[in-house]
Each structure stands twice: as C-alpha cells, then as structure tokens.
C-alpha cells in the first residue's frame, strides 16, 4: 500500500467492510424493507446502518433507501443484507408478477394515475 488516496470506490467498499455482494437471498430493486422492532439498541452498527433502520420504520422500497443514503445500489444492498442477517430488517421475497398485481391493484393504479 502507498500513502496515496485510494479513491472514492475503495472508500465505498469500506462502508461494506470490503464486501461487494449481498449476503443471503437476493432481493429486488423495489423489494420492501421494514425495520424489525428490537428491544435494545443494536450495537456495532455504522451510521449508514442506523440511517436505514430509522428510515425503514415505515416500509420502504430498496431503491428509495439507496437514494436516501446517496449510495450506489449494490453498496446499499450489501448494507441491507447485513441488517437482514442480523434480524434487524425484513426484505420482501421476490414474487412473480401474476401473483402480486391482481385486478384490484390494476384498478387502483389506473384510478391513481387518472387522479394525478
């Protein structure tokens, strides 16, 4: 190692402890992240982790978490996967479109767009 600035990308991976791939099952860009209520304040977390826990008390899609943290998606995913591993957040499992968007949802979406 030299004493030179390693550059922004290295610093980003520093946030994830060098990890570049999420741990565990993969999850979608708009999977819903929800903070799990735990009795005690978790220790050993980084500010980014705490930020996620705070903002995901209301269920929040992954893409919004990334935008909120101002971090690239795959870095955000690593952080989220770590929180999931520790049981601090839940992340929706991906579901096939036919099972999620039913007729009622289509109607709600149509009505919502027309009402904008």
């Amino acid at each position: 190692m030299t004493g030179e600035d390693p550059g922004p990308l290295i610093r980003l991976f520093g946030v994830t402890g060098g990890r570049a791939r999420p741990v565990g099952e993969s999850f979608d860009l708009v999977a819903i992240v929800t903070t799990v209520d735990v009795p005690a304040e978790p220790v050993g977390l980084m500010p980014e982790h705490l930020d996620v826990l705070s903002s995901c008390r209301r269920p929040t899609p992954v893409a919004d978490v990334a935008a909120h943290l101002r971090l690239p998606l795959n870095i955000t995913r690593v952080l989220l996967s770590e929180l999931r591993r520790e049981g601090l957040v839940t992340i929706d499992r991906p579901r096939p479109v036919g099972k999620t968007i039913d007729e009622r949802i289509y109607r709600e979406v149509l009505h919502g767009i027309r009402g904008l």
């Binding site: 570049a20 929800t34 919004d64 690239p72 795959n74 709600e108 979406v109 149509l110 767009i113």
Partner: protein, 202 residues
C-alpha cells in the same frame, strides 16, 4: 361509476406494502428522464450501480481498483397510489452494455414505455425487440417534439414491425396529461386479461 376498488375504506389494512415497476426505455436523448420528471411526485431520484468489467461483484478489496470501471446512473420517479402502494418509473440506461440491468428491472414489472423519436425511430428498435422477447407488455409512446409533424401511428407500427397488439400513443413528455394518457394506456393494456375475466365489457 368506475373502479369501485378505489373507494375509501376498501383497501384492506393488512394488504402488504407493494411497489410496482414501470420501465421507461428508448434511445439516448429521447426524453426518458423528462417523462419521469413530468409525472413523478418527487424530483426524480438518482442512484448509481457500480459496474465491474465482468459485470459481477468482487468479494474483497483486492482487485477492486482494476475491476470496477464505471458507474451507471439510474433515475427513477415515484407515484404514490395510496399508503403502501407505489408506482416506480425507472428510466433505463440506454447503452447496450447495461442490458443486464434491464433484466433485473424487468422482473415483476407491470410493463414498459418505449419512447420513440420519429426522427430517429431506429433508436428504439433494441427496446422493442427486448420487451417482445421477454414478453413484457409495452406501449410505444411517440414523443412529438416542437415542430415535429404529427405522425400516423399506422406508419410507425409498420416501421417498427410491431405485431399489431402493442398500443402506440402520440405524446408530449413535458405535458402531465399526456404522460398520464401513456401510463393509463400501458396499465390498461397490461391488465388486459385480468379486466376481461372479471368484468366483461370494461
């Protein structure tokens, strides 16, 4: 009388939160980001995906510098339908080498808008091909720029070699009402069977 499902109180509180994706594709400079911005309730959010040369992540710090080569920006907008139901519009990266991101964006998506500029119609061919192959419902939205003459959708359909099913809509991506029409056309088209099965004649 329409859309009874939207009446207040009919949304069960125990319905899990859900975010629905719509992709906005098309050639460079065709107005994708403008379209997202016109309809989004938030200023389009911007995030980035780090790319490695091999398109895969790396497991540790060693070699990061040599493998990570670029970032790809992803702009998206949001429409809140109700608490716990959101519509996300993703402007897909235009360059071919980012198609792996389309693969991920397409999974579970409601459908796609292929934005076309009649002066460079060929720019949207790859997107049309992609969604046809994937079987993802899409509409072609022809952005009518200032001074662009009105085009005949039938001619555009022929030029694109569309199978006659995917709707074609003329639009102005800067106008909210126009973007709403594009999106309602897509949602109606995508819903297709679901509507007919439950309510014949809708």
């Amino acid at each position: 009388m329409e859309y009874a499902a939207s009446e207040p109180g009919t949304s069960p509180a125990d319905t899990p939160a859900m975010a629905i994706k719509i992709l906005v594709a098309g050639g460079f400079g065709v107005g994708k980001t403008t379209m997202v911005g016109t309809i989004s309730e938030i200023r389009p959010l911007h995030t980035e995906e780090l790319l490695s040369e091999r398109g895969v992540g790396v497991d540790d710090l060693s070699g990061v510098e040599s493998k990570i080569t670029t970032t790809v920006a992803l702009d998206f907008g949001r429409i809140t339908i109700r608490e716990g139901l959101w519509l996300y519009l993703f402007g897909t990266p235009g360059q071919d080498r980012f198609w792996f991101m389309w693969d991920e964006l397409s999974v579970g998506a409601l459908g796609a808008v292929v934005l076309a500029d009649t002066r460079r119609l060929q720019d949207c061919f790859p997107a049309v091909d992609y969604f046809e192959q994937r079987g993802l419902p899409f509409v072609v939205a022809v952005n009518c720029f200032d001074g662009a003459r009105r085009h005949d959708p039938a001619k555009i359909r022929r030029a694109l070699g569309l199978d006659g099913v995917a709707p074609i809509v003329l639009c102005d991506v800067r106008r909210r009402e126009s973007v709403k029409e594009v999106l309602t056309t897509l949602v109606t088209y995508s819903a297709g069977g679901a509507f007919q099965e439950a309510h014949a004649g809708v």
